[in-house]
């Protein structure tokens, strides 16, 4: 049990409480940015889970969009409680990942990345034609109830933020524990030497399949949070391949060292985009692209590597001054 309650767990728990406290202080626009960061962070965890196996998906907007559109469809048939919508979004995205996984688990590298993208663009094409879901104009999402309770208009978004933070927390902690489990660690071995893993008696494809479903579910959670945050879903900003690109951007920005880092990455991305948009409305894409380039050149392991670098420097300094520091494994 203690193995599960490690520093990352406590860090995430602390982060959750900090967010719940901050919720009282935040201005509304900051809360919006926070909600979107939580949403994109969830998807980025899904990508991180795959990344640990050496797989990159350029099509996770497929599950993200599936989660978001599930909210819209459930609302059409009258289901409007946040928990039911979340379960619905997770179930449909996870179910889709389960089905597609049978095919995709056989592919690696660029084939895996692009097949994902192909599937997401198929969904895009379908949604762009379905008039009852608003076609390319998209469809509005109404305000939801929380366990059957309706929040007043002032309390609505703070309450939504509390729920989103808790969902993201559960997603992060769950993923962290999964990655520390034998099954989770084994997938790193798959990245290093797949044949050897097979010889050890494990099925690499099965391990990847499980990962794929997990990452699909996480992207679905992100989609649900996003749909509720924005109050509108449309194919262009939910399923288009550039959206998948955003998630890959965040994962690179954050680095794959730690699940908590993805939320920091998502927040940095969100702030970067907001301010680039504000100060350079005609070249904001250029600024985002430039930032990505700088990250890849100077921080190839993402923002999280700043922390490990700082730690190793401190350890080095400590070693020089004669003290010893206990290294920590398992990050």
């Amino acid at each position: 049990m203690t193995r599960l309650l490690d520093r990352t767990f406590w860090g995430l728990t602390l982060g959750l409480f900090a967010l719940l406290l901050l919720n009282f202080l935040l201005e509304e626009w900051m809360r919006s940015i926070g909600l979107q960061s939580l949403s994109r962070g969830c998807v980025a965890i899904g990508l991180l889970v795959l990344w640990r196996t050496g797989l990159v998906s350029f099509g996770h907007a497929l599950f993200f969009g599936f989660g978001a559109y599930t909210v819209a469809m459930l609302q059409i048939i009258g289901i409007n409680d946040i928990i039911l919508l979340l379960i619905g979004g997770m179930a449909t995205a996870g179910g889709l990942a389960l089905v597609l996984g049978f095919l995709l688990r056989q592919y690696r590298a660029i084939f895996f990345a692009l097949l994902n993208m192909a599937f997401s663009m198929i969904l895009y094409g379908v949604l762009a034609k379905v008039e009852s879901l608003g076609s390319t104009d998209g469809i509005g999402i109404s305000q939801v109830t929380f366990f059957g309770f309706t929040a007043s208009s002032e309390a609505y978004r703070p309450t939504l933020f509390v729920f989103a933070a808790i969902f993201a927390y559960i997603a992060a902690v769950g993923s962290h524990w999964y990655l520390k489990s034998t099954l989770g660690l084994m997938t790193m071995a798959v990245r290093e030497n797949e044949i050897r893993v097979e010889y050890l008696g494990y099925s690499a494809e099965k391990a990847i399949h499980i990962k794929y479903v997990l990452s699909g579910v996480l992207a679905g959670v992100g989609g649900v949070i996003m749909a509720l945050t924005v109050g509108h879903v449309d194919p262009d900003s939910m399923v288009y391949w550039t959206v998948s690109g955003d998630f890959v951007f965040i994962t690179i920005l954050a680095g794959t060292g730690n699940v908590g880092a993805t939320f920091i990455g998502a927040l940095v991305y969100e702030l970067l985009r907001t301010y680039a948009f504000e100060f350079a409305p005609e070249i904001w894409q250029l600024i985002l692209g430039g930032a990505l380039l700088l990250i890849i050149m100077f921080l190839p392991d993402g923002l999280w590597s700043l922390r490990s670098e700082w730690r190793s420097r401190r350890a080095l300094a400590a070693a020089r001054s004669g003290k010893t520091e206990k290294g920590e494994a398992g990050q």
């Binding site: 626009w29 919006s32 008039e131 608003g134 076609s135 509108h232 449309d234 900003s237 005609e282 894409q285």
Partner: protein
């Protein structure tokens, strides 16, 4: 001596800094009306739509702030206060736009949003505008769904341009008036998304009432949005029996289509109806096809170049002076949104006796009739939130003397002739044979 010089320089710098700060302080504390304007600054919709829209906006804001406009808009500012304009990018889809709208409303505290080109953005921003209680004047987007489905009881959202149905109805009316016997059926090529699908449906329904003998093609073309290559579609259209082709193409797609279809002589063989063709007519110049129907969704751009009203002449002259090209429809349509704001703020201030609240401005604009560049805009539909203007159609021709594209044989259709009566949904009205139209 040296020391004193240094001190003198320091004093000078200090004074200058102080002055700048005082100035900065003064502008920061001066009362302004902050307006956010979304427009496509990047992407495929920027050259033909977004950039002219931004230019028209900047020009009209300059005119309003300096009091340069002719009567009745010849006072400075909105109800005496200067406009503080923030133009931002409309690219990226509905979700991104909702986020930006929240940023503008809650972070930058804008007083109003004026603009919006894409129907998708309008659909996405309607709910959030009502939720955040921000006065929003939609200027270009066409989908009738904004007030007929999404927001049936609008308060904060207005649209100062005809919705798309009116444009397709007037196109059909023009065909019926000018070449009723010549139309032997009509084909269509529209982008495969909401705007293209709606446009084709509206045109088809209007034609069914007005020229029942002309049958719609059974195979309307719906190429992918932004596909840019129309070889197969052009072949299919060339072979089709129908002699009229309807298209709601716009932006880069329209320019690509015109280039490819001209090369194959399609415009000489078929009568084309390009519902927003005017947007690229000035950009393409002589390359724009002649002898086709090109629409502007109202009294804008090519259709009003020579109209003598002082406001229109001011806009034409100043726009050409500032940007070196004639103003096309998005420039007019965005500027018209600002005229609506100017009208409403000034009227509300007069009624209230002081600077008006947003609610007072809304009351002033709801159901109002205000003069625009040519003629009036009547906020006559959807409880006074949806505008009606006349609509115009004509045939394009190259004017050698002017060196620009012009329209001939223009017919002006009154607003009541091409719009459904208040309270009647567009599709319902079209399917019922357009009853109650006053032509």
């Amino acid at each position: 001596m040296k020391l004193r010089e240094t001190k003198f320089t320091q004093c000078l710098v200090g004074a200058a800094l102080g002055g700048v700060m005082a100035l900065g302080g003064a502008t920061a504390f001066a009362q302004t009306v902050k307006i956010g304007t979304p427009s496509f600054l990047t992407g495929a919709a920027a050259p033909a739509f977004g950039i002219p829209a931004k230019q028209g906006t900047e020009l009209i804001v300059r005119g309003i702030n300096n009091g340069e406009l002719p009567a009745p808009y010849n006072t400075k500012g909105l109800a005496g206060r200067q406009i503080d304009l923030i133009v931002y990018d409309e690219a990226g889809g509905g979700t991104k736009q909702v986020t930006e709208f929240r940023n503008k409303a809650q972070k930058d505290n804008v007083d109003a949003i004026i603009g919006i080109i894409s129907s998708g953005t309008c659909a996405a921003l309607t709910k959030v505008a009502e939720e955040l209680k921000v006065l929003t004047i939609q200027t270009v987007c066409g989908t009738p769904r904004v007030f007929e489905e999404i927001n049936k009881d609008p308060k904060y959202v207005f649209r100062t341009i005809n919705h798309a149905t009116a444009n397709n109805v007037s196109a059909a009316r023009y065909l019926a008036a000018k070449m009723k016997d010549k139309v032997k059926g009509f084909a269509g090529i529209n982008q495969n998304y909401a705007w293209g699908q709606d446009s084709w449906r509206d045109f088809q329904l209007a034609m069914a009432t007005l020229i029942p003998a002309a049958k719609a093609s059974k195979k309307p073309q719906f190429p992918k949005l932004f596909s840019g290559q129309y070889g197969t579609e052009i072949s299919a259209l060339s072979r089709s029996r129908e002699n009229v082709v309807h298209s709601s193409f716009w932006g880069g797609d329209l320019e690509a289509f015109i280039g490819q279809a001209s090369a194959r002589g399609l415009f000489k063989r078929k009568s084309f109806v390009l519902t927003v063709g005017e947007t690229v007519a000035y950009r393409l110049g002589k390359k724009f096809p002649q002898g086709i129907l090109a629409g502007t969704r109202g009294p804008y751009g090519m259709y009003v170049v020579d109209d003598p009203t002082p406001l229109n002449q001011w806009f034409q002259k100043e726009f050409r002076k500032a940007y070196g090209s004639p103003p096309s429809q998005p420039a007019y349509q965005y500027a018209q949104g600002f005229l609506a704001a100017k009208y409403a703020y000034d009227k509300a201030a007069k009624d209230a006796g002081k600077f008006p609240s947003t609610e007072q401005v809304i009351t002033a604009l709801r159901g109002a009739t205000f003069p625009t560049f040519v003629g009036d805009v009547k906020m006559g539909l959807s409880k006074g939130h949806q505008a009606m203007t006349d609509d115009r159609w004509g045939v394009t021709a190259w004017d050698e003397a002017k060196g620009e594209m012009v329209v001939k044989d223009v017919v002006v259709f009154p607003a009541e002739c091409v719009n459904p009566p208040d309270g009647v949904g567009s599709i319902e009205w079209l399917k019922g044979g357009m009853k109650g139209a006053k032509c």
